[in-house]
Amino acid sequence: MGNSKHLGLFLLAPAGIFVILFFLAPVVLTGVFGFTNMSTATGITGGSYMVSESAMRPLRSRFGEDALADQLSKRIYTIDEEGLQAAAEAGGDAAALTELRSNFFNESFGNRREVETAIKSLNARPSTTRGIKIISAQFVKSVINVRFDTFEELLTSIADFGIELSDDQIEALADVTYTGWTFTLQNFKTMVELPDTRKTLINTLFYVFTTLILFNTGFALVLSISTHYMPTGPAGFFRSIWLLPRVTPPVLYVLMWKWLAWDTGFLSVILEPMGFAPRNWMLDSPTNAWVFIILINGIVGASMGMLIFSSAIKAIPASLFHASEVDGATRRQQIWHIILPQLRWPILFITIYQTLSLLTSFEYILLATDGGPGGATEVWALSTYLKALQNYGGALQYGYGAALSLVLVVIGISVSLIYLKLFDFKNLTAPPKIE
């Protein structure tokens, strides 16, 4: 019996592993990735060092090392042992190479034409242009676009290239030539600077709160309260109707909305005789798009609140309804003074739950408008998905996407805390003084 307390832990271990693997780890990784510049360009493993065009740009702009950048970007041609050997292996004319060694050994040329002029000046010069080119190609010296596994190798190569570097320059180079991901706050700076971010944020808040207030809690309350006052049969029927969208596969469900809104769809067909030109009603204007987005999400979203509220109303003792009627309460007063106060906890639950799920779910928007027209319905979660996982104007920006998700998490937690405060959560859960 002594190890019975360990038994519990032991039995929970598999669950614990799953929790860590599938819940905790992704959150932690997202948090970490948010502070990196990870993208398809950097890869998600470590990187190498390379003097590239894109590395020279920050060298000039951030460090003001224009001269160094110019030097590094140059190609020079030097007649050295290494080049001569390579030329021999590439099939260069042996006599020409011997003469080249004796005439120009260790001489450098600024470009390829100058090397070729020197080769042409040889007595044993190759007879064809191709023969000349085979040889000249072997003497090119450049650090540009060469990958080095370590920074030291890059430095050696630069030294070979004949460039002397100051300590500051070394530091700058280490920074700009690294091709892997690095930790940075740049994502958050970018987020604040981009005007799109503000737009997306406003879209998100509008989308979440409009859907929430109108449908997920508002309409759900209307449905559950009105069915409460109906006879059981019709009430059950009415509730099941509102459950249908919930059990329809999302893709099909949105497809039906699209069909409704298409330029050859239902709306266009019935509105045409009334003088409205057929069009895609959903993507016609931002207002229309929003109306559809909110309806699509709201009609699905209301069903859950309806179920929770309905069962909560059922749980109110019938005697409270009887008592309030006898006390003189009209139906309106009954709703206001008896039902709603009793629903405070379910309403809080649904509000928090639906806020979080509206904040993070974007599948209906993705399927319906894909954020259009012109980004008008792009919400935070969708934008995160597009930046991080959808090829959207080029590379996938994992780091930026993660940073966006991180902000979403922070927004979600803050909003929940505000709700708890608003609904006076402490009082709701305070233990009763007398059982």
Binding site: A323, V326, D327, A329, T330, H337, P432, I434
Partner: protein, 352 residues
Amino acid sequence: MRILLDKFTKKFGNLTVIDEMDLEIHDGEMIALLGGSGCGKSTTLFAICGIHKVNGGRILFGDKDVTNVTSQERNVGVVFQSFALYPHMSVEQNIGFPLKLRKESQSEIKRKVDEIAEMVHIENLLQRRPGELSGGQQQRVALARALIRRPDVLLLDEPLANLDATLRLEMRSEIRRIQRETGITAVLVTHDQTEAMSMCDRIAIMDAGKIVQITEPKDMYDNPVSDFVAGFLGSPPIAFLSGQIKDGNFIEPSTKTKIPLSGNITKNHNGRNVRIGVRPEFFQPGSGITIGGKVTFIESQGRETLFNVTLSNGTILRSIQGKRSESKIGDQVEWGIDAQKILVFDEDGARL
């Protein structure tokens, strides 16, 4: 306010729970609806306050037909069996709720709540929630809420069922006092005969949706119209002996005991099979017509002792005795029945 139920009928689906009930409750009277579980007491109460729609007949308050008036407009105060206090409101808000619904001013509500709270002795509990009250305190709050708008009628559905014995005794007189003070017409639903007898001016005994007898408690005890009523009132209950009327006497066949009956009963019923009811206080040692049996059960009730005496045919007679008795279980005894006090019922249970 007088209440009149005129051929009141209530059905739930195909089930007729109350069939053409007539009941008149006088102004200022407190009446008890007494009956076993499921006999339709609550249903009657719910019809009077308008929670249930009636399926037939009329309900009159005074001379006004309220059959189709909603419960909101009947001005009836109800204390529900479960009290039905609003859990999310303080005691003060609970009591003031009916006034708040009528949009009376805050100060007016406060004044009336304080006044009624004093009457039911809960002045110091006003800020608590119902969940923080004992059963007896909740009961007073429910009573205060029912009384605050000076209803024409007060309905109480087994208000004391949840209370312990002492509290029940206390609340009995408390409710009666308040009912007298306010002069309100009241209906008390209960299945506790003591409660009905001690609190009410009249008792209406119900059985399977019908009122079997309605009269004052004392009269009902002494003159029940049927064996059902006789069996319902009295604790410990009345005992019945089966036998025959022969030549002015009741003959108990197993013991051949002869009990003389009054002349007007025997006149028309000679030879008829009947049952007589003997209350425990009228079956005592040393007086009356003796009948022999064996003591099979003794229960001390403190001041009094209850004996069961089983006759040779298995019938049980009960005796309640004040003074100490030497009898033990298994003793053969010969105790007397008071012939003046026996009640005679025919085969169908109707009183002769």
